[in-house]
């Protein structure tokens, strides 16, 4: 069974040029992985600075108000545009998707590499903005503030505009790959759910991102030439900007969560050794989420002065999107029933996801309901909501997937003990940091506040302490993961007993993924067809 990896994509071909100009989706995936991890670290450092500043009331502990505003803007923009949107699709998806389909590569390898360099180029502008006079608009760039502030808004928005193309190209590539490069015999319903999830994500990436592109172009032109479309002083409408922005950015939150859900749909059956419950329901709910997500953007604008009837429709549709998410959660739960459940690190992250995403999603109900959103809008309740879904949802799933495919990437195992320690620290630290923020927000603490009233002090302090536990968890993780690349135990081709195709090749895989064209022996979750003794091991 054990394929000895004589040839692996890591060392063939050799030389730095073979990396920089590589067309191999696995290498591009790795390069993306390094970039997004660097972004995550940077965004995380900004987050710690935010928390440190908010530890005490009064401001001016480590920075002034202007700097604080720049810091949370950079934190949000980096986390969203440089980290979470590319994280699962471009890093893990790039690495795994073609292997799962039994393909040798994505449909357009050159476009794939281009997308990576476009990402780097876009990141360069964002970093340039950071180095000069960083934008202080919040990641939402609302006009007319963003058109009048004297910070480097143009380089930041231009960076985001460019990053958009990177995202579009990844999405386009995945759609075509899924349609055209599946292994003969792999029908749509034999595709792993990870692929379904990325496919639904790709649709959103392709359809929503261009609108963000044009919006940011309009914003830049507004700043440069005063074209007046969004400028109230010239007869323009700042609310129109918000509609444009959220028309992208709401679907974008599903660009973030769908791939996370897709990873969970892999982890749970594999670590429960159990056929997934409700395959089709999970697959179709991804598509349902993708389509309805285009129709709910106005729920970010319930108190912006839009008409009450528009608000009504947006509120209703917001609740409609919640149903397919619920269906997924229940299907995952049912998959655990009568399984053979392992507590390996990736599964711990899947458990964390279920716990945290459910809180995050359910708090979305408070925000989707009109009367309660009036009170909660732009408070820390919203901040807590979106950290629960983005960090508690997507990032947990990402970390689960990272650990799951880590042996496939490097051919080595990470240290399981430290893996568990850090998973537990991250889980605890996260809850301490952000659960407090639900209470803060409901009590009226507005977001984007550099300073705050006395009454909010204790909860802010707990939140800050939580962020230190969180940071400790991540530092441990960084140490053992990097250590394992060099010193980890050698991993077999299929250390977890997965049935999807990437586990049929060696770890790490050869440059062309499969030495011989793989054969589909089992469906992706056919644990019921395996001999019983295999299930309990």
């Amino acid at each position: 069974m054990e394929a000895v990896p004589e040839r692996s994509y890591l060392n063939e071909p050799k030389g730095w040029k073979s990396w920089v100009f590589t067309l191999d989706h696995k290498r591009i995936g790795l390069m993306y992985l390094f970039s997004i991890m660097a972004s995550f670290l940077l965004g995380g450092i900004f987050a710690l600075l935010i928390r440190l500043e908010l530890l005490h009331i009064g401001g001016k502990h480590i920075m002034g108000a202007e700097t604080y505003n720049q810091v949370f803007t950079l934190h949000g923009a980096i986390m969203i545009f440089l980290f979470i949107i590319p994280s699962i699709p471009a890093a893990l998806g790039n690495f795994v998707l073609p292997q799962m389909l039994g393909a040798k590569d994505v449909a357009f390898p050159r476009l794939n590499l281009a997308s990576f360099y476009i990402y780097v180029f876009g990141a360069f502008f964002a970093v340039y903005s950071m180095m000069s006079n960083a934008a202080d608009t919040g990641w939402t760039f609302y006009t007319p503030y963003s058109t009048t502030t004297n910070t480097a808004v143009i380089s930041m928005t231009l960076g985001v505009f460019i990053l958009g193309f990177s995202s579009i190209f990844t999405g386009l590539n995945f759609i075509v790959t899924v349609h055209k490069l599946r292994l003969p015999g792999m029908t749509w319903y034999k595709m792993p759910l990870f692929v379904w999830g990325l496919y639904a994500t790709a649709i959103i990436q392709v359809l929503a991102t261009p609108v963000l592109g044009i919006t940011l172009i309009l914003l830049i032109l507004e700043r440069l030439f005063g074209i007046g479309i969004f400028d109230p002083a010239m007869g323009g409408d700042p609310i129109l900007y918000q509609h444009f922005f959220w028309f992208y950015s709401h679907p974008a939150v599903y660009i973030m969560i769908l791939p996370g859900m897709a990873i969970i749909s892999e982890l749970i059956p594999v670590f429960a050794h159990r056929k997934i419950f409700g395959y089709k329901a999970i697959a179709y709910s991804s598509l349902a989420i993708a389509f309805v997500s285009f129709l709910v953007w106005g729920h970010h604008m319930f108190v912006s002065g839009q008409s009450q009837y528009a608000a009504m429709i947006f509120s209703f549709l917001t609740f409609v999107v919640a149903i397919p998410s619920g269906i997924k959660v229940f299907n995952w739960l049912a998959t655990l029933y009568k399984g053979s459940i392992s507590f390996a690190t990736p599964m711990l992250y899947a458990f964390s996801f279920l716990f945290l995403f459910t809180i995050g999603g359910l708090t979305g109900m408070f925000l989707g309901a009109l009367a309660t959103d009036v009170h909660l809008h732009d408070t820390y309740f919203v901040v807590a909501h979106f950290h629960y879904v983005m960090m508690g949802g997507t990032v947990m799933a990402f970390l689960g997937g990272l650990h799951y495919w880590w042996p496939k990437m490097w051919g080595r195992m990470y240290n399981e003990f430290w893996g568990k320690v850090s998973a537990v620290l991250v889980f605890l630290g996260f809850n301490i940091t952000f659960f407090t923020q639900f209470i803060l927000g409901a009590k009226g603490m507005p977001r984007r506040y550099y300073n705050y009233l006395d009454q909010y002090q204790p909860l802010h302090a707990y939140s800050t302490y939580g962020s230190w536990i969180l940071a400790l968890g991540f530092i441990i993780m960084a140490v053992y993961l990097i250590h394992s690349i060099f010193k980890g135990k050698k991993a077999s081709g299929n250390p977890w007993g997965g049935l999807t195709l990437e586990w049929t090749n060696s770890s790490p895989p050869p440059p062309e993924n499969f030495i011989e064209t793989p054969v589909l022996k089992y469906g992706p979750y056919d644990y019921d067809k395996l001999p019983a003794e295999k299930l309990n091991s």
């Binding site: 395959y279 109900m365 009109l370 009170h375």
Partner: protein, 313 residues
């Protein structure tokens, strides 16, 4: 009426606060039930079916139509209830009664000003009577601000070049916080005003005295009061230290350097111009962020502030 606040919510001081809280807690309890099902289910299965246990493993079901219908229908029914509830209450919160007192709210970087029906005006203090509906007609002079009174559960963005409306009816006298919730720059977190709810009688008296504020005071004393009440203090100190704007201490009859390199003598006219047309001359080293007080301060008040600045040696 709950006036101390609960675990999540601040105290209730308006007529809809209690209604909003009912919905909030309804969603909270329903969510808690679903959360409990998910998390206890997860923990139970994880322990019961952990790997390596003694019982033989069997292949579980991959479908159960009845179950799937149940877990689709129940949440659907629930969200429909929440939707209608939220929408009906929202309409109520958006349609002010006909007989409401109308107060004009102006947001600008970084303070609030309020104009009352009889011509009185205040800065950073909204004075209203208890038990009477109050309609707020709001607009901004620069960027978007957000008008938020947590204890009343109301919030509305304040947008330049158009009016937005909200209303409330306070149920108790007292002083409550008013926050700016829409990010508006450096002073965003300082853009906090007070809502002062008084008895009806008291309010009527206040309105009358509000129009002749400063009577019986020396001009400079009145100016000192305005310095605080009209929000100059958010940006200007009087102790010689710089804030968003320069300190007032000792500027009178001194030369001040402007950003275009020239300098100017601080006299009465310069101060007047600085207040009413602040962008005309920018002090070197500062941003042109001071809002105009044209229309906010009347002549007497400008005189008073000038007199006050003169006293700061």
């Amino acid at each position: 009426m709950d006036t101390t606040g609960t675990l999540f919510m601040p105290p209730q001081h308006s007529t809809f606060a209690g209604q909003v809280d009912s919905l909030f807690y309804f969603i909270l309890y329903a969510s808690t039930v679903f959360f409990a099902i998910v998390v206890f289910g997860m923990i139970f299965f994880a322990v019961r079916y952990r790997r390596g246990r003694k019982q033989p493993v069997e292949a579980g079901p991959s479908h159960n139509t009845a179950l799937e219908i149940i877990w689709t229908i129940i949440p659907t029914v629930l969200v429909v209830i929440v939707f209608f509830w939220g929408f009906k209450l929202f309409l109520k919160m958006n349609v002010p009664p006909k007989d409401a007192i109308e107060i004009k709210v102006t947001g600008q970087k970084w303070f609030w000003s309020f104009d009352y029906p009889n011509g009185a005006s205040t800065v950073n203090e909204l004075d209203v009577p208890v038990g009477k509906p109050v309609k707020l007609l709001m607009s901004s002079r620069d960027v978007i601000h957000g008008f938020f009174i947590p204890d009343f559960r109301i919030k509305m963005d304040v947008v330049p070049n158009r009016y937005t409306i909200t209303w409330f009816e306070a149920t108790q006298t007292g002083t409550f916080n008013l926050f700016c919730t829409q990010y508006c720059g450096k002073g965003h977190s300082e853009m906090i005003a007070k809502v002062k709810v008084m008895g009806e009688r008291e309010y009527e008296d206040w309105l009358v005295s509000g129009t002749k504020a400063g009577e019986g005071m020396s001009l400079a004393d009145f100016g000192a009061k305005l310095y605080v009440s009209k929000a100059c203090a958010t940006c200007h100190n009087v102790d010689g230290t710089a804030n968003v704007g320069p300190s007032f201490k000792g500027i009178f009859e001194h030369q001040v350097k402007l950003s275009d390199g020239s300098s100017v003598m601080v006299d009465e006219n310069y101060i007047r111009e600085s207040i009413l047309d602040p962008q005309a001359k920018i002090v070197a080293g500062y941003q042109p962020v001071m809002p105009t007080f044209q229309g906010v301060l009347n002549d007497r008040e400008v005189d008073a502030l000038t007199a006050y600045i003169k006293t700061l040696k």
